[in-house]
């Protein structure tokens, strides 16, 4: 849906005109949006994450953490444990990966083929050369042939290479993108765990999509368009994309806003059990929701025989979402994480169990994965400290691959050549950057753990965090750097007000005044305030 150039010209003139008279609350983005609506009469779409800030992350600080803390001169890979396991609550298989983060769902269709190949090759190289296995999610657009038909436990890839239909499709795929130079032997091997998404559009060709993956994610919703179906515009549904998804080409691929067979808790249970039967109770099953009524949704998932819960904050990215839905619906990642944690704790306490948040080695408990606005090691560490087991990164990988944050992913005009345009993506250098990014992030995570004196990144707990503003303190119940929480600030203010009131009233009550004075002094002493609420 490209819009005409006049819109861009007129918005410049407009900006001066409209903002000069008023108080400046019409920003450029709002002006373009309104002009686009008048230009084509359609709902304006946008790519990537919401325009809102995600200031909770900025307001949290890991006390004493240093992402470059390599002072021991110890660069050994094994001194800090970063492994992350998923599955085992009901599934037979447990996926064991080497990093607490993974590539979150970005499908072929929303990403162009070269970008998908770059991710595939980079994860393979990481596993082979660096010994770092990280998980990848296919997104809802179906998996590519080499993702499905080449894992280690699958039949030998020579046999697979003989499967004519798959080879034919692969050839056409590569030819369409002028990538014949890539040997199929190089592509048809997968050394990392793959999660396939079971979304409302059901975009796949055959059951091998479910059977050949290492885990299945039932996608109820995603942060950027909670309660709104997905949309791949018609011009992006090329013949090859259509064939991969099993849909007609050059028609907009619309996934419904809800699973037509999952409307409530019982349906979810039935669906999870159905998938368990299909996969012979082997594959871990994850349920992904967009963050809104997180507490209720998580309670439902906990009772549905899923192995893990995945939550996507509304700042999480997307290929295409209606702008207003993306920016206006959902809650932020950190509050969602807090609510999910509450729900999980409550669930387990009813069942007489204590839940150890954050990378517990106990595979029999439900794992919590978060997405949305997490791009680097420090944010991953903050999520883990607050109770997440794993963190999904999408935009971080996009930026690494060269995304310029133009946010026009839904048009065929990506300046970096990632989401579809005539720009060419240099696959080899992109692979290098992805490898560096993963290695660097993992090293930074180890450095953070090491600078805090921890043996595992999952030993980073809430005590290591402080907040720098009141709202973050209210949401996370954490204290400021000097040991005071938001309650202490409010108690202090109440005491001051009461003192002022009793001193100004004509008949002061001596006992109360002195009592208040004592209380005020007490509150001002840091030692008493250590540990949050002084009354409890």
């Amino acid at each position: 849906m490209p819009y005409s150039r006049d819109v861009l010209d007129l918005k410049r003139r407009l900006l001066n005109e409209v903002t000069s008279g008023r108080t400046g609350y019409f920003d450029t983005v709002k002006i373009i949006r309104e002009a686009r609506k008048a230009e084509d009469g359609k709902v304006p779409y946008a790519g990537m994450g919401a325009r809102a800030g995600n200031e909770y992350f900025e307001s949290l600080e890991i006390l004493g953490a240093d992402i470059n803390a390599n002072y021991l001169g110890n660069n050994s890979r094994n001194d800090i444990n970063t492994s992350f396991k998923i599955g085992g609550r009901y599934s037979d298989n447990v996926i064991d990966t080497d990093a607490p983060f993974f590539v979150s769902g970005m499908s072929y269709g929303s990403l162009k083929l070269p970008a998908k190949i770059a991710l595939h090759l980079a994860l393979n190289r990481l596993a082979e050369e660096e010994g770092i296995r990280i998980m990848m999610n296919t997104g809802e657009g179906g998996a590519l042939p080499w993702e499905l038909y080449s894992s280690a436990e699958m039949c030998s890839h020579n046999a697979m290479l003989q499967n004519e239909a798959i080879i034919d499709y692969t050839d056409r795929l590569l030819k369409a993108h002028n990538l014949e130079s890539f040997g199929k032997e190089q592509l048809f091997r997968r050394l990392y765990p793959l999660v396939t998404q079971y979304a409302s559009g059901r975009f796949w060709r055959d059951p091998s999509y479910l059977l050949n993956a290492d885990a299945i994610e039932i996608k109820i919703g995603q942060g950027a368009k909670i309660g709104h179906g997905g949309l791949l515009p018609a011009e992006k549904v090329t013949d090859l994309v259509a064939e991969n998804r099993g849909i007609p080409s050059y028609r907009a691929a619309h996934s419904p806003s809800r699973h037509l067979d999952i409307l409530g808790p019982e349906d979810l249970v039935a669906k999870v059990l159905e998938l368990r039967e299909i996969t012979d109770w082997k594959k871990p099953i994850i349920v992904k929701i967009g963050a809104s009524r997180v507490y209720d949704d998580v309670e439902i998932i906990l009772k549905s025989y899923a192995d893990a819960i995945s939550i996507d904050g509304y700042v999480g990215g997307t290929g295409a979402a209606p702008l207003e839905v993306r920016d206006g619906i959902g809650i932020n990642t950190i509050p969602a994480l807090e609510l999910a944690k509450d729900a999980i704790t409550d669930y387990y306490s009813i069942h007489g169990r204590k839940y150890d948040h954050g990378g517990s080695n106990d595979n029999s408990s439900c794992k919590l994965l978060v997405h949305g606005g997490v791009w680097d090691s420090e944010r991953i560490a903050k999520c883990i400290a607050l109770g997440a087991d794993g963190v999904g990164i999408g935009t971080g990988f996009m930026l690494t691959m060269g995304c310029t944050l133009v946010q026009d992913c839904y048009t065929n005009t990506c300046p970096a050549g990632l989401t579809g345009s005539f720009e060419k993506l240099d696959i080899l250098s992109t692979v290098d950057r992805i490898v560096n990014y993963v290695k660097g992030t993992l090293q930074e995570l180890r450095n953070i753990a090491r600078s805090l004196g921890k043996k595992s990144i999952y030993e980073i707990k809430r005590d290591n965090l402080v907040v720098t503003d009141e709202l973050a303190s209210i949401v996370t119940e954490l204290s400021f750097r000097e040991g005071r929480g938001y309650h202490n600030l409010i108690y202090q203010k109440i005491t001051d007000e009461l003192l002022q009131m009793s001193s100004s009233s004509s008949t002061p009550q001596p006992s109360t005044t002195s009592q208040l004075q004592n209380q005020s002094d007490r509150l001002k002493e840091k030692s008493i305030l250590k540990g949050g609420d002084p009354f409890y």
Binding site: F26, E58, P335, G373, W375, R433, I434, E444, I490
Partner: protein, 421 residues
């Protein structure tokens, strides 16, 4: 992510991806850049408070609707069951309003007229229009298919009875500014003369008067109109007041009128204008308690090209130009309708007016105070948090204070929040 943060985020990650190490983390750079934001809340921050308010979407605990295949109703009726015989039904809760788009331009009435008629004919969309001068009515032409809300001036009411009759006969609804010297009796008089909805405009002068809304509703006024642009210039508790605070207060006044009389609301409309300029903001304002949004500046922006070239220079347009601009306005309103439907459906409702303030969450303390909105992740508003801590404090310390004192302390806690922080 925010536009201004993009550079920092991209630079930091690319450094890591190309070199394998980087000097500082994203959060450190962002918090250094944004440190001023915490201590100072500017007027512009208050103006943009809508951005930090979000709606709750539907997932597992409430299934979503599909706006492309299922019917999502945006229909709004103006007029009370008990007092009005001729109600106005709008198919989306929007009235075109604003001197900005109507009075600066020569042909703007003609354009709006064509656009609204076309929407009615081709898309069965009924959208209202407010006009503020009685001679503007003549410019609108004869074959009008959409409802008009005429803003009456107080002079006509008091002096010119014939003109008043004429005005009443050719408009579907009327809006009259509520003034202390005339208010209640004039509204009573109008109510008897006019069968359509009578809307009272509340202004800065009588807004704080608790008695005015019950009196107006008693004499049969069908709706309250408020242009919040006027109010937000004034200063409330410790800072500028936002549109959401005004909507909350008026909705509270209307609800408490019915609660005191133990009656159900028979359809009093709250019509709000000012700083509601996108579909998301329309949904949020309706969640807070507004019924109809008076909407204007967005149309001005949508047609800025024309506005810039012709209208401001007061050049008369040719008929093909008029047609083109009208088409743009139609497209804009159709897209807006689809957006509002998409939001309503994504929240799991089939009717826009089922959205309530319990569907709102905020990531901003100021917004929580102004709109009485729950803070995300805590499910309590800031005032609730303050009150529960206050109760705990008094109980623990054994201090007893009366209601007046309590209220005074609460007010000063809220008002001084920014200064104390």
């Amino acid at each position: 992510m925010k536009e201004e943060d993009k550079y920092i985020i991209r630079k930091s990650l690319l450094e890591l991806a190309t070199k394998g190490v980087r000097s500082t983390s994203i959060d450190r750079e962002l918090s250094a850049k944004n440190s001023h934001r915490i201590s100072n809340i500017s007027d512009n921050d208050i103006h943009n408070l809508w951005d930090s308010v979000t709606l709750l979407g539907a997932q597992l605990s409430r299934p979503a609707y599909d706006p492309y295949r299922e019917t999502i109703s945006l229909t709004t009726s103006i007029g009370r069951e008990t007092t009005t015989s001729k109600k106005i039904i709008l198919t989306m809760p929007i009235i075109i309003y604003g001197d900005g788009i109507l009075n600066t331009a020569v042909d703007s009435f003609n354009v709006i007229h064509i656009a609204l008629n076309r929407l009615m004919e081709n898309n069965s969309m009924t959208i209202g229009l407010t006009i503020s001068k009685d001679n503007d009515l003549k410019k609108l032409g004869d074959n009008r298919k959409y409802p008009i809300f005429q803003k009456l001036s107080n002079d006509i009411i008091t002096n010119d009875n014939n003109k008043l009759e004429e005005s009443l006969s050719c408009s579907e609804g009327i809006i009259l500014e509520c003034r202390e010297d005339n208010s209640v009796d004039i509204f009573k008089d109008l109510r008897n003369k006019f069968a359509g909805p009578v809307i009272a405009e509340i202004t800065n002068n009588n807004f704080s008067d608790d008695m005015i809304i019950p009196l107006l509703l008693d004499v049969g006024v069908d709706g309250i109109f408020v242009d919040t642009e006027e109010f937000t210039k004034s200063f409330g508790h410790g800072g500028k007041r936002h549109t959401m605070a005004i909507i909350c207060e008026l909705r509270h006044a209307i609800d408490s009128y019915y609660n005191k009389r133990r009656k159900n609301n028979d359809g009093v409309s709250l019509i709000v204008s000012g700083n509601i300029n996108s579909s998301g903001n329309i949904a949020k304002a309706i969640a807070l308690g507004a019924d109809v949004i008076a909407y204007g500046t967005s149309l001005l922006i949508a047609n800025a090209e024309v506005h810039d070239n012709y209208l401001l220079k007061k050049i008369s347009l040719g008929s093909s130009d008029i047609d083109a601009i009208a088409e743009k306005i139609c497209k804009h309103l159709k897209a807006t309708r689809m957006e509002i439907k998409a939001i309503t459906a994504a929240m799991g409702y089939s009717n826009l007016h089922n959205i309530s303030s319990s569907d709102l969450r905020t990531s901003n303390i100021e917004a929580s105070i102004q709109g009485d909105i729950l803070i995300e992740g805590v499910e309590k508003s800031y005032i609730e948090i303050l009150e529960s801590l206050f109760d705990k404090y008094l109980q623990k310390e054994g201090i007893q204070i009366d209601d007046m004192q309590r209220q005074r302390i609460m007010l000063s806690l809220i008002g001084n929040r920014r200064i104390l922080q």
